[in-house]
């Protein structure tokens, strides 16, 4: 009998361990979702108003960590998928506690999101219509695609690439890199006031841009192009100190 109980218990425990469910949390009352990670982060859209963190195959907890909680800089794992999720007022803070392994996160299309990679992680964001902030602080790259809203992004060594759908006109776009290339694609009819500047890189574009350097005015960062396209509109500022800049018609 005793043996039987033990077998049952073991069976039970193993099913619990295997049925590692995705983590979800409602987003009602949340204005911003801030994600911080050392590893790669991919953020995609889904249709429900909740945060969903996929528990990937790489999420296996080591055997001897059974019954223990993962603890990292951002806090303690309160999601069972290796993340710490904390609500601070109308902001939801999501820390990826693991130092390797991809994180796949789903959020509603209109969510405002801010993603920070603090080490080697690449940031990938696809399909959002809200505001997007992305910051790759060390070696990571930032790739933002199919977005409409204002994007504020910054990389140190990685490449920064953004592909816009229709660009909302209500708030400025700001894309900076120190050592990486900045590569932006816009619908060709996008109205915008452009400001492109680079110190040691070059600017390439198929938009009709006249680089007017004002006479006698030395520009701040060596090369500074200001121009309007399609009659002018939202402010779009692109800068790379040492990288090249690519502005493409989509």
């Amino acid at each position: 009998m005793r043996k039987f109980t033990i077998i049952l218990a073991v069976l039970f425990a193993s099913t619990v361990a295997r049925a590692q469910a995705d983590y979800t949390k409602s987003l009602s009352g949340i204005q911003w979702v801030k994600i911080e990670s050392k590893a790669d982060v991919t953020v995609k859209t889904h249709s429900s108003n909740e945060l969903l963190i996929k528990s990937g195959p790489s999420m296996k907890t080591p055997e001897r960590a059974k019954g223990l909680k993962l603890v990292g800089e951002g806090g303690t794992d309160n999601t069972d998928v290796g993340f710490s999720v904390i609500q601070d007022g109308s902001t939801l803070i999501v820390y990826n506690l693991r130092k390797s392994g991809d994180a796949e996160i789903y959020l509603p299309k209109n969510q405002n999101i801010s993603v920070k990679s603090t080490w080697n992680g690449d940031i990938e964001i696809d399909g959002f219509a809200g505001e997007i902030e992305a910051d790759a602080q060390l070696n990571g790259s930032v790739r933002v695609s199919n977005v409409n809203g204002p994007v504020t992004a910054n990389t140190l060594n990685g490449e920064l690439a953004v592909t816009f759908g229709t660009v909302k006109q209500d708030s400025p776009i700001s894309l900076y890199s120190t050592n990486g290339a900045v590569d932006v694609s816009l619908p060709s009819n996008t109205p915008a006031n452009l400001s492109l500047s680079t110190l040691n890189g070059n600017v390439y574009t198929d938009f009709d841009i006249k680089a007017e350097e004002k006479n006698g005015m030395r520009s701040l960062l060596g090369r500074n192009i200001k121009s309007t396209i399609n009659g002018g509109g939202v402010n779009l500022s692109m800068k790379s100190t040492n990288g090249n800049m690519y502005l493409r018609k989509k």
């Binding site: 505001e131 902030e133 504020t152 400025p172 700001s174 701040l220 009659g231 402010n235 500022s237």
Partner: protein, 263 residues
């Protein structure tokens, strides 16, 4: 009237929107007409319910969106000088004159009146302009505190609207440069401040920022500006950056190239 029912006038009576004489007449009638008195009481209850009704208030977003639309339209308008109102009035007046010369005198006196009116409006507009500047400053300062980095950048960019930004604005920009967590906001704030390097406050802030800043793009931009204005006090923080092993090599090269000109 005293003997006629006043039922149809009661709402206006309660609103107080009738002329004095009518009001008095109604009062006199009410004194001796219980039926109308009853009607007044009941209508008063209803109108009171309207007054006490809670009215929903739109969110702040509405205002900021409107202001953005307005700015966009202003930008689109460019520097087109608006048609002055005087020419319009002239056309109007001349066509009237064509129709009937006999009323020319009337028109003239009307125009005199409207000239005075115009003067009054212009004077009040001048006062309003001050108020507008205040509004802009408030908008700018509050945008700079927004949770969204894009909005903070927008707030910083408002600096272009001010010919002579006052201390509060400079201080707010300095705050962004020194303390904002977002690199893009800090760089935009730096660019805004770099237009006012003749100010001692700004010089001081730039030196502070150079000591503190970790983003190499912003570091190099600050260095260039401080060298351009030949700020000798910048030499110390630059030397420190040279000694610091976290400093990017290209920054060090830059410093090595410019440092002799400051010392």
């Amino acid at each position: 009237m005293e003997n006629e029912h006043v039922l149809d006038l009661i709402p206006e009576y309660l609103d107080g929107s009738l002329d004095n004489e009518t009001m008095k007449n109604i009062q006199r009638h009410l004194e001796k007409c219980p039926q109308c008195q009853q009607e007044v009481k009941e209508m008063e209850a209803l109108l009171k319910a309207f007054k006490n009704d809670v009215v929903p208030v739109p969110s702040e977003r509405l205002k900021s969106r409107f202001e953005e639309a307005l700015e966009a339209e202003k930008a689109a308008m460019g520097k087109v000088v608006p048609l002055s109102s005087k020419t319009k009035k002239y056309d109007w007046a001349s066509s009237v004159l064509k129709i009937a010369a006999s009323i020319a005198l009337l028109v003239a006196s009307f125009q005199m009146g409207s000239v005075f009116q115009q003067k009054k409006i212009d004077q009040e507009l001048a006062e309003l302009k001050d108020e507008n500047l205040n509004m802009k400053q408030t908008a700018m300062l509050s945008l700079m505190e927004n949770q969204s980095a894009s909005k903070r950048i927008q707030g910083v960019a408002y600096i272009d609207e001010f010919e002579n930004p006052d201390e509060a604005i400079i201080q707010a920009l300095a705050n962004r440069l020194l303390n904002d967590e977002n690199d893009n906001v800090r760089l935009t704030a730096f660019e805004a401040l770099s237009k006012y390097t003749s100010s001692e406050t700004v010089k001081h802030v730039l030196i502070q920022a150079l000591e503190k800043e970790k983003n190499p793009s912003i570091q190099v931009a600050i260095i260039q500006t401080l060298v351009q204005i030949q700020e000798k006090k910048a030499a110390e923080p630059m030397k420190k950056l040279l000694e610091n092993e976290d400093t990017q090599p290209f920054i060090k090269e830059q410093i090595k190239a410019v440092l002799p000109s400051l010392t």
